[in-house]
Symmetry: C2
Subunit: 213 residues, 2 copies
Amino acid sequence: MNEKNINEKNKNKIDIILNSAEELMCSMEEPNRDITVDMIAKNAGIGKGSIYYYFESKDEIIDAVIERSYSAAIQEYFSTINNCETTFDKIKQLFRSILKEELLDNSKNIILSLHVHEDIMLHYKMMMTSIRTISPILSQLLIEGQKDGSIHTDSPQESAEMIVAMLTFLLNKNFFSTDTESIYRKLKLYARVLETSLQAEPGSFDFLFMPIE
Amino acid sequence: MNEKNINEKNKNKIDIILNSAEELMCSMEEPNRDITVDMIAKNAGIGKGSIYYYFESKDEIIDAVIERSYSAAIQEYFSTINNCETTFDKIKQLFRSILKEELLDNSKNIILSLHVHEDIMLHYKMMMTSIRTISPILSQLLIEGQKDGSIHTDSPQESAEMIVAMLTFLLNKNFFSTDTESIYRKLKLYARVLETSLQAEPGSFDFLFMPIE
DNA sequence: TAGATAATTGACCGTCGGTCGAATAAGTAG
DNA sequence: CTACTTATTCGACCGACGGTCAATTATCTA
């Protein structure tokens, strides 16, 4: 077996394991909150020992699932911004992508699922990952937007981190009540904060609390 | 033994257990990140079974430690605002109290400790608690400040929640780098966001990134 | 003092993450 | 094809941890 085959086969097995874990993470049956390694193995139809042939620890599996999910979401975002003309449209699109994932009741999606999930560990890691993966993208967009004058900020990186962190927090079921009215008010507030802190046109972030077409 | 004595004695034992747990939570020796019930019992000089005579679960102990610590911090805050003349001074004092706890290297303090601690569970609970306990106070202050015209906001409760959440996030070692320069920039940004979103006097939140006297 | 109640304890249990050596599959050289 | 090496699979087993419980001791009451 040559190297390419080995890698492909491993990749395949790794995906099987990740799929199994993701499936369990997405299923939100109340009683079975905690996912065990045995469950992942059983659900994948393989022995527990095999899991540890491909992964160092349970933590590594969870991290990999989150990582994979986010990188997929980000790739999807990048494929949508081709038809964006202005930088601000790209920013808009970024927020739309995030919000769509977050708000729509599409429990096929791990990112949404994690937000709703009871498991604190998952939630925390998800927050960290979203900040780590999304804020650099936004940061870049802020720098870009600064050039064409649609926004203004002294420290784009820090701004981006704070903006993503706020949003992650905002939509967080464990921290805040998520009734429609409360989310609406917070998104409105959030839009105002973005607008003023980025010195953007008044109302330019209002799309955040408008219905998604 | 009358009821009062029973309660006092129980209170005493509960405090012994909480003290033991807090002591362990504060000690940040890298290798022993995870605190076990046995450790708490041993450190308190009592049997493990006794722990479960007073508490339902390990989680309940941790929650109680955090709760106790925050309620102490809040009481301390309330005792300091007697000499505050304006509402804005009270707000200032509230932020000062929080920042002092967060930033000073006083590892005797559980709240600081938790921020620095590796343990995700502790950290998460700490964040939730700080939002739950501090934001109502701030919310009240915002309403008060609205009356005397020092600030303006449509939804004080949501504003308060977001402001506290942001700060908790901001100073969070697990999410962001905490080098002095980065914290400084973020606090500066934070001050600007507060200022604009609360429509307060320009520069009125600059005390946030000024050295604490 | 005797009996009832409160409090204490550590051996024990079930579960879970992780290990390990044995067994099997796949690949390779001759 | 055979013999040997290497990659992969597996589940019984281990240690640690949260939590239980029956037995024991301290404390209170009549």
